[in-house]
Symmetry: C2
Subunit: 257 residues, 2 copies
């Protein structure tokens, strides 16, 4: 068997995940042979970034790659897969909420490679320490994915589709919803002509604290103390109905813990 | 005028804020002369930590200190203040939501020293970079507080009580509510027998991202994409009504931005 770095990798899709994953693969000694993306503009940006040729029609996708990493929007996944049915290599998707079965009956060798992180094209990120959840239909492919993930992050877990979807749901709370709380906080300040970035050291410490204290134990503020005086004051200060509803519901949820 | 480090400081209260503030003051060359706290047990812990004597009755509070830093629960503040009416030194509280006027007619020289951060007794924190918001009734006291805050954090802002209360409200969203989103995410994983700390790199990156991108622009996930398929799946996966309500309300709020 050839050394893992000599395997031929093709990236299908040039979005946030493949932009960051592609960079991490190259930094860790892997060779990416080709990028496929339907739109030429995104493909070209990634192609230049990684110094890897790109194609925009399915017919041009290399047929002899060892692994195809498909990272496209969830609702585009099925149509992309249906065009790859002639391939012999391992096809994996990177989606948290899509079961591995989406490949069944269409692709010969298939699996999932799900890194639990938030990715942007413009924000380069180290894969080291990012938990990667893998799944494949046969043992050899699991081992193959394990080897790749171990090189990138060091934290690899074999996990079923049924469990993986809960990681994605948990991430919506811990990342997407937490970020929205930052947004609501920033609006409160900006409406008063105050700079939102006064909140940055607080945001940093709140995130750092849970590395050593479980978030349920790290909870502070008026809701956990059930300080009705402050809660009432805050409710009266909030001018829009949406923030008032969220303030009430989240405070009750904290208090109910 | 004597050098600022030679001023006599008394800490009133031995809770989270004074524990961290006391340590920061000493580390920055200040001298703390005394700690007062109603309960001896907390007073003793802080006394040992800072190597500063403590008292538990108001009569024993030093009368010749330059500054008294009062950090007690909001609802205890008024009764503490009423017992300090004989003092000549500057009395400041550290509360975000309590107006400076609480001192009026009771204390001669008064002000506010509000560090915007979340503090725990057991988690030592650097004051460097923490924004401190100060207020005082006269110019000389403002300058005195500015000097102290500049030595501790370097980020000092003179701000009215009217504005300061919005900092506290914003902090409830960005810290307390964001932390609760971590808790809800952790519960989703733990109910599935998955380790909650898979979320840590994601939490760290979500907080780090907003240092360079405004949170409203950093928003990712199904709600901002208005991905109804995933939103419906997630709603169906949530078993308790509280999480379902929060998922719906926060998703709508993100989508409505």
């Amino acid at each position: 068997m050839k050394p893992i770095q000599n395997h031929k990798i093709v990236l299908i899709g040039a979005g946030n995940v493949n932009t960051q994953l592609g960079q991490a693969l190259i930094q860790n000694g892997f060779t990416i042979s080709q990028i496929y993306n339907r739109s030429a503009s995104s493909a070209q940006v990634l192609s230049e970034k990684l110094q890897v040729p790109f194609v925009t029609s399915e017919e041009q996708i290399l047929k002899d790659a060892d692994i195809y990493i498909i990272s496209v929007k969830d609702d585009a996944l099925l149509s992309v897969i249906s065009k790859l049915d002639h391939l012999e290599g391992l096809c994996v998707h990177t989606a948290g909420s899509v079961p591995m079965d989406i490949f069944k009956g269409k692709i010969k060798r298939f699996g999932v490679f799900y890194p639990l992180q938030t990715f942007s094209k413009d924000r380069d990120i180290s894969f080291s320490g990012i938990p990667v959840f893998i799944e494949a239909a046969n043992k050899q492919d699991i081992e193959f994915l394990q080897e790749i993930a171990l090189r990138l992050s060091g934290k690899v877990n074999v996990l079923s589709s049924e469990k993986r979807k809960y990681l994605h749901l948990a991430a919506v709370f811990a990342c997407n919803f937490a970020n929205h709380m930052y947004t609501l906080g920033s609006q409160v300040l900006e409406e008063q002509g105050l700079s939102w970035d006064f909140l940055l050291p607080l945001i940093e410490e709140t995130a750092a604290k849970v590395k050593t204290i479980h978030p349920s134990k790290a909870q502070t503020g008026p809701a956990v103390r059930y300080d009705q005086t402050i809660i009432k004051k805050h409710m009266a200060m909030l001018t829009d109905d949406n923030k008032r509803k969220i303030y009430r519901l989240v405070s009750d949820s904290i208090h109910g813990e």
